[in-house]
Structure formats: C-alpha cells, structure tokens
Symmetry: C2
Subunit: 592 residues, 2 copies
C-alpha cells in the first residue's frame, strides 16, 4: 500500500520563499518559470511518484533484483515504473536542450528527485546515476561521443552506471588497478569493479558505464586514472545496437536494504577486453569524476530528505491510527499521536524533513546560480558556496535520515520491528546513504581540508556572515528566543572552524580527527538557519495577511521546535571539536 | 566465524574497582567471593559464550526459528547450545539454593549475561525470560507452585516465557482482555497474546508461561489484572509430564533482526481453556509483573552492553585488517584504524561499551545490596537507587547500542551494508532493544513520573550528590579538565530535573513531553560518572605502582575521550528539556 503523499505545499513554500528563485528568473531562459508553472510540474511529478514509482517498492524490498547466467533482472514492476518515468519525459528535465533535454534549472530536478526517493529510492538510484553519467559526458566528452550517446541517455532510453570502486580501492581511488589498453581510437578495458549500482538490468536498451581505469604506462596513484565510457552494447554508425561488449555482472550483493537496486560485481574483459572510449583528458579521470561527484553527493543528500519525509509520513499515519493508552487530557480512545512523547517524535521527523528540504533546495538553487548567472563574480561566489555545502548536505541529510527512520520504527513500537508494517524497510534502506558516494568521514575530510583549510575559512566565514544576517532579522522581527538560539549555534560553528584553523598546522591528525564533529556542528547550524529563514518567511506572509494560517502557523511552531530540540546539538559537537585529537589518537594499536 | 572475545580484563576491573564489591562481601553468604574466584567464574562463562553459544549465531540470523503445524523449531545449533548452557549449571547461578540455585550475587549473573548477549542475543533472550519467570514465581508464588515448578526452571530443564502483550494492549496493559475463568483450584485461560519471545520451542521439556489475564468479573483497567502460571505440558503429582495444555503458537513474526528468537502469537483456550495457576494475589498481577520488570529492564540494558561490545570488537577486527588509503603519518599499507576518523569511531564504541559496563554492573551490585545488606535503611536506600537507575540503564544502553552498531556498520564502509560481513546483523538485532520491556518513551515516563516527581526529586538529588563527590575527587586528583566536564554535566542534569519539578504541576504535558530528553540528559551524566570513577580507579592503581600500564593508561584515555565526545550531549538534552512542551504540543492534529 502506498501511503506517501508528495508534500507539495511545503516544497512550493521553499521554492517560493527560501531559494531566491527571482535570481534564477533573471536568467533569460528561466524567465518564464513562474510559481504556477512550477506548481503544475511538481504536481505531475508527484502523480508519477505515487502512481507509477511507489507501487513496486514493496516487491523491490521483498523480491529484489535477481541475477542468473550473467544477467540481472530488476524486481517485479520496476521495468514498467521506469518506462512510465521515461515516457513522461522526466529523465531530461534539467539537461541540455541540444540533446533533447528540457533545460530547466536543476533545482526543479531536485524537487522531482525528492519525490522519487520517497516513493522508491532503490529505483530512483538508477536515473540518479544516469544523470551523473550524462553530466560527466556532457561536460568532458568529445563531440562525437556526445553525438552518439547523449540523446538516448537524456531521454532515459539508455541508462548510465558509475564504475569506480574495486576490492582494494574503496574510499581510496588511488589504488585502482583496472587497465585500459589503447587500440586505435578506443581502449580495451579489463578488471573487476564492485558495488556497481544498476550495473546490469533489462529496463533500458543499453547501459553506459563510466569506468575509472589506468593505462598500462600511467603514473601511479590518482594522477594515472582516466575515465572511459563503456557501453553494454556497441553502437553502430547508424545508431542501432551492435554486439554485446566484453563485460558482465558476475554477482549481486546481498544487502541490508535497497534490495530493488542491484549492486553488481562487474567483470570487464573476460575475453579480449571491453571496448571503451576516453572521456576528458588522459590521466584526468578523477577530475572528471569530481565534477559529477558534487552533484551526485547533493543527490544522495536528497535521498536522505526523501527517506526522512517517507519515514515521517509512514509514522504519522500509524500514530494517528493506533489507539493505545490515555494521553494527558485525552481519553482511552485517543491515538498515540496524543501522547506528548510520540508527538515529540513526530515533530522531530517533521522539523528535520523540512530543514533538509530547505538545505537541499538552497544548494540546488545555488548550483544553478553558479552555472547560469551572468555575473562572473557572482557565479564564482556561488560555486564556492556549493562546494562548501556539498559535504554538509550529503552528510547531514543522510546521518539524520537514519535517525528519522529509526524514530519511525520507534513510533511503531513492536510493530516497527516486524517487517510487514513497512517501518523496518525504510530503516534498512536508509543505512546505505552515509556510505555511498563518499562516507560521512570522507565528507568530513572534504569539508575540513578542501573547503575550509584550503581557503583559510574564507568561504565558511562568508556563510557565517549570511547566517548572522538572519540572526539580526530574527531580532528585528521580534523573535528574540530564536535569534538567541541561532546566535548561539553560530558561535558554536565559528568556534569549531576557528579551532581547526588554529590547530591543523601543528597537529596532522586534527582535520580528520575532529572533522566529523566539525561537519555536524556546521551542518546543524546551517539546517537551523534554513528553519530560521522559514520562520521569517512564514511570519512575513502571516503579517501580510496571508490567510493560510494552518500551514503558516505550523511552520512557525515546527521551526521553533527545531531550534529547541535539534540546534542545541551544535554546542555538543563544538565541544567535541575543541577537545582536539589527543584522546582520539591516544591509544596504541595494542590498547584497542 | 566467531570473532567475539570476552573482555574479561575490563569486566574484572569494573568488579574489582567500581561496584564496591566489599560491601557485598559483608553479606555472610558472599564473604568467600574473592577476586580470583570471580575471575575463574567469568573465564568459564566466557568459554561457554565463545565455544557453545556464539557458533550458532549466524544460523540463528540466516535460518532463524521456524514454525509448522503449531510447533516452533529453534534455529540450527540452538538446542545444543542451550543444552551446554544448562549442563554447565549456568541458569541458576544467582538463584535460590533451596531450589537448586547457587545463590551467587545477581551481579555475577549480569557479567555472565553480558557475554551471552554478545555471543548470541537471540538465544540469550530465552534464559533471560526464564530468569524473569523464576523471580516472579519465587517471590509471589504459593509454596505448592514453587515446589512443583521452581527447581526445573532454575536448572534450565524447563524454560519460561512472559505473556503480557495483546494486539490492543501494548504499552498500555490496562487494555488486556485475556480471560481466566476460575474452576476448582485452577483457572481456564483463553485469549490471544502477541510478541511472546520463545513462546514455543523444543529445546526444553516444558515451557512455563507467566500470563497476564483478568477474571470475568474483575474490575476494569490495571486493577483487574492477575498473573497466572500456565505450563505447556501439565505436570503430574510425581513430577512427570502429562497432557499438553490448551494453547499453541499460531504464527511467528517476520522481524528485522534476532531471527533466532521466535516471537510467537499464542492462542490460549482454542478448546476448553488452558489450565493456569494464580501467582500472587488476585488482581495484583501488575504488581507481580513489576517486581520482575525492574530486573528484566536491567537485563535488556545488558543486551545493549552485549551488543555494543560485540559491534566494537567486530569493527575493531575489520579496522585493523582492512588496508585503505594513507593516514596522516602512515603508509599506503596502513590499516584503516590509522585514519583519525576511524580511530574516533573505534574510541566511541570502546568508551561507550565501557561506560555501559560500569553503569550496568553498578546497578546490578546496587540491586544485590538492596536485597542482601543487613541494614534496613541501607537496603531501602539502594532499593530506591535501583528504581531510579532502571530506566536509565534500560534506555541509555539500548539507545546507545543502536548508535554503536551503526558506527560498526560505518567503519566497514560498503562492506558494512553487505550482510555477509556480519556488521549488518548486529545493527538489525540492536533495533529491538529500545522497544521491548518498555519503550524508551515508557522509561522516560517512569523516570519523570514515578522516579522523580513522586519523591520530589529526593532520590535523583541523592544521586547528584554522589556524582558531586566524584567531581571533587577528580579535582583533588589533579584532573581538573575532567572535573570541570563532569561538573558541567551535573549542572545539566540538575537543570533538567529542576525544570521538571517546577513545571509538572502547571503543565500536564511536561513530564511526557520532555521525558526523553530528561532521561537522556541524566543517563549521559551517569554514564560519564562511571567513566570518571574508572579514571580515578585507574589513576590510583597506576599511582600505587600497578605495572599493567597498557590497560590502565588506556582506561585514562578512553574515559577522557568519553568526557570530550559523549558527555557534552547532556547539555544539548538539557537545553531541549528547558525549552518545555509548548512547541512539542503546539500543532493541531490537522497541522501534521
């Protein structure tokens, strides 16, 4: 049974009030995008999510993808669901119109992706990876490659897969061993790749693998890695499909969750080698990969949002249905949602989902501004803002989505531990999100090293300045409690950043040791900043006579709840940061 | 493969240094229990856990318990493991010698249970429930019932089960409908019970169900509930087994974890009614249940400890085996344990497991003192200390064990999400612990209502005084950083308690609304108190010339890590408490 209902009202509120959509409308090709148009787009996408994508979720979890004789079969219903997605024209909404895309802001694809993730994350991973492949090809591929492959990927007729990890090369891509031997205009690839999501299936006519490999004489480490496009079926001059290329899935993983998403071990070159084409420059594969990594990481943050929202809705329905006990002021016939502790848990889920939405969509709008604004300085400023936000969006939304899925189980009580009620699968699905596309530890390292130390904090202090503006605005608007709370949070954030900047040079362990707590301190405050801006926007609407008091007053309360119950964690994270690395690194190996 | 190794050294350290074992030795029957004797007992129990109990864990998870034709079959190997447990004489170590028990302090059964839980929690649940049944029967049962049943339960030849929950009566036992019709000297029970762990199996010759039910004319609500002993097989005068009683398991739940523990739906009285015998007074079933609930809740806290320790050891092995990336100051051949963020996660697991151990064992020793000390006032004081500690031990150890199991998955990276590596099953098992034997929300309500408001904070402030003594001792010992940290934590705890005491009378929602954060604030500080006492004890040993510097200096670092990284959360919880219930209760139902 599909219980998910797209939270269109909140999505639209965020798009209308919190992402400065007007700045995007200053871009000529986006000038016609008014709120109404966006609303109908979201409504249509919501229908797709509920009617076509969500119904096969249960079979995805229970039956899952299967492999036999080197071919993967998607879970029951997934093929039809994917077909509806393609036929609706959804795969290409934010892509290059030259190749059939609709050229809308990627912000709108964020909103669509949120709904797909809530409906069926295991399936949504497939187009998400295709998007990533499209991006790297569009940005780095030769014109001839683009001409041959891009249109069918953008339309979704073909899907994409990302082949990075090898058994000995997980978080450390430098250790990649897959070999690409140059032959004429192409390369012959051989090696084993693991954890290849949607590495094989029959939902699409062809699958384009973006494979990291190294030439036989390439320099060692990351400076010898190149990126190759390796199609499942060769493509003839006339665009028709030819012979099957020399690679196969050899097994799929038995995972805790997202059973609908086949995670393949891929073997390339069992015979002569799989034909692949260079994307970008030789030995610059990692750079090409990183272009797309930013977006892919934001998209995993959106998975966190999708899961948190789904967990909330699922628990909400149970909490208002299940009658148990007599809450204060209630009767024996009261649903458990009347118990203050259950209400606290629902508020936690609701407020965190809403905070994630502001955080994700803001990052989405910023990345559109970084790409499309006419002013070069503005583009550069947004570019570094997005770079700064990527690890926060990825880590915070995924860490918190696991907590929210757990709260969903808890609200169900004993029923939550039983698979059939559907709270458990959300919990199991959620657990992958802090791992793939860079673990939380990798995000922490990215934030501390590349995003804070590298520019001496310039970018993060610019963000702090923006948060300070909101603190001032809260005071002006008479919300002194929340102004104080956000101000305290901001101090925790600054304290954490300053500690890092003061200590990294003399303590080689510092960035990685305190990175997690630094990341969580900063992103908790950024999440609260989004809720503070929501508070101000809702209050402004109410003050201007907007009569939708049900939604707007709920926003005031939900945002205030977040300030009371979630933001204080920033202080705890900051205390851990300033305690430094001594006790973290204090034990010898033998003392563990 | 069994990777678990009983942490005998730390267990012995806690028993020797932190639970005031001398006060137990003042009890004549415990006077001979020296450290060496305890050491050999733990060593033997550890062998049992590793050699007999742990090996069937994997089959428990993968194959699980099965039901067919109304009979449950335990997972492969479970019967043999249980037999070894019984033949070793372990079931009765802390029970009444009049019925074959060994009469040791229950503290020692806590230590044994920790190891059983680490080895195979799904199996360990069975004797844990038998213990609970023994306790209620020993304390409340008529002599004739005790004579017939107790010896075989204490020896483990028969097992016990607790039948509380019904579909409409989960956290709210007042709604129980199962009927007990009086006939001669017994009762005929009919009704349906759900979530009955180990409700059926063939590992033991008989199963004694402790069933909550109400007489046809009983008063409504909790005041009409009585407790009955209902044997699977009738017991003849000569002690031999007779006919099968009129109840059956009708299905077992398909759960997220602990697949080795059959969770039964039990149907009583499909024919004439199941023969049951009253335990305790009529209509006082809930009282009898609560006697045993305290201990059962502490035992679930021990499950949390067992799981946290297991997750730590499992992740530790992986972290020191897996080579990936170059940590600061390391080489390409370094295991991931060299990466500061991985080390942080290992330290988190290690320190939290150790904190749980101090917390659980201290509560175990306190409950022995409450039962056995000669001085009546002292017994009463320990009795209220235990009552206060029960919700904290239960909630903190179970909430944190889930976080630690999650950290274990995270340390494994992608391998953690794949079932075969064994990190995922620990994560799935852990999830039940905050639900059964009273959810965390129920523990919070217990702490706020029965344990703090009822005595106007007397008991909790006595605990605060004890913590204050440790703060002073830290200062005296020259550990001013930790003294300051614990002092801050203590302030957070007092602030939370005072807020509750000042507001509950005027805000009916307050105790339940802020209860969770109050509980977490207090228990975080109590956990830190245990680590602070560990710090002092380790330092004292080092100062006195103890040469085991490897263990003792590790303890200093680990305890300090806990103060840096975990204790600060208390401040965040306290801030949430003092924010009150307004925003928690602020939305109308329609606004969710």
């Amino acid at each position: 049974m599909v219980t998910y209902r797209p939270p269109l009202k909140d999505m639209q509120f965020v798009l209308d009030e919190l992402v400065d959509f007007d700045s995007l409308r200053s871009v000529p090709k986006f000038s016609e995008l008014d709120s109404e148009l966006i609303g109908s787009l979201l409504e249509e996408a919501g229908k797709l999510a509920v009617e076509a994508i969500a119904p096969c979720y249960d079979d995805g979890d229970k039956v899952g993808a299967q492999i036999s004789d080197g071919d993967v079969t998607a879970a029951p219903g997934f093929g039809e669901a994917y077909k509806a997605f393609v036929e609706g024209g959804w795969p290409g909404i934010s892509f290059n119109p030259d190749f059939g895309g609709q050229g809308l802001p990627s912000l709108l694809s964020f909103a669509v992706d949120e709904m797909l993730n809530s409906a069926n994350m295991a399936l949504a991973v497939c187009p998400m990876l295709t998007q990533a492949a499209v991006e790297s090809l569009d940005r780095h591929g030769a014109e001839s490659l683009k001409a041959t492959y891009l249109a069918n990927m953008i339309s979704g007729v073909w899907t994409g897969a990302m082949d990075l990890t090898e058994p000995q090369a997980g978080s450390n891509l430098a250790a990649i061993r897959t070999v690409a031997k140059p032959i004429d205009d192409h390369f012959l690839i051989s090696g084993t790749k693991i954890y290849i999501s949607w590495g094989d299936h029959a939902m699409a006519e062809n699958i384009l693998h973006m494979v990291l490999a190294r030439l036989p004489d390439a320099p060692p480490g990351v400076k010898g890695i190149s990126l190759f496009l390796v199609p499942k079926y060769m493509v003839n001059e006339d665009g028709s499909l030819g012979a099957r290329n020399d690679f196969r899935p050899v097994s799929i993983e038995h995972k805790m969750g997202i059973h609908g998403s086949p995670t393949c071990v891929m073997e390339f070159g069992a015979n002569d080698g799989a034909v692949g084409y260079l994307v970008g420059e030789l030995n610059e594969g990692l750079k090409c990969m990183f272009t797309m990594m930013n977006n892919a990481r934001l998209k995993v943050g959106l998975e966190g949002l999708g899961i948190a929202e789904k967990a909330y809705q699922h628990a909400r329905r149970y909490a208002f249905d299940r009658v148990q006990g007599r809450p204060p002021g209630g009767t024996d016939k009261s649903p458990i949602a009347g118990h203050p502790d259950v209400r606290r848990m629902l508020m936690l889920q609701k407020s965190v989902s809403e905070a994630m939405r502001v955080m994700c969509y803001t990052a989405g709008a910023d990345s559109d501004r970084a790409e499309h604004l006419s002013d070069e300085d503005a583009r550069a400023a947004y570019d570094s803002r997005v770079a700064l936000m990527v690890p926060m969006v990825k880590a915070w939304c995924t860490e918190l989505c696991q907590e929210m899925a757990s709260v969903g189980v808890q609200i169900h009580g004993g029923m939550g531990y039983v698979e059939e009620t559907g709270a458990a699968p959300i919990y199991r699905d959620a657990r992958i999100t802090t791992i793939y596309e860079g673990t939380t530890g990798i995000q922490a390292q990215d934030l501390a090293g590349r995003k804070i130390i590298r520019d001496s904090g310039k970018s993060v202090f610019a963000l702090c300045d923006d948060i300070k503006v909101t603190v001032v605005a809260l005071t002006k608007a008479g919300m002194s409690t929340q102004a104080h709370q956000l101000g305290q949070g901001l101090e925790s954030m600054k304290t954490s950043v300053n500690w890092l900047l003061e200590h990294y040079a003399n303590d080689q362990f510092a960035p990685n040791a305190v990175g997690y707590n630094l990341l969580m301190a900063c992103s908790t405050v950024v999440a609260a900043w989004g809720m503070a801006r929501s508070l101000l926007a809702a209050k402004a609407r109410l003050d201007s006579g907007d009569t939708d008091t049900r939604f707007l007053s709920a926003k005031l309360t939900t945002a205030s709840f977040f300030m009371d119950n979630v933001l204080p964690r920033a202080g705890a994270f900051a205390q851990a940061v300033t305690a430094g690395s001594d006790n973290i690194m204090g034990l010898s190996d033998a003392q563990f």
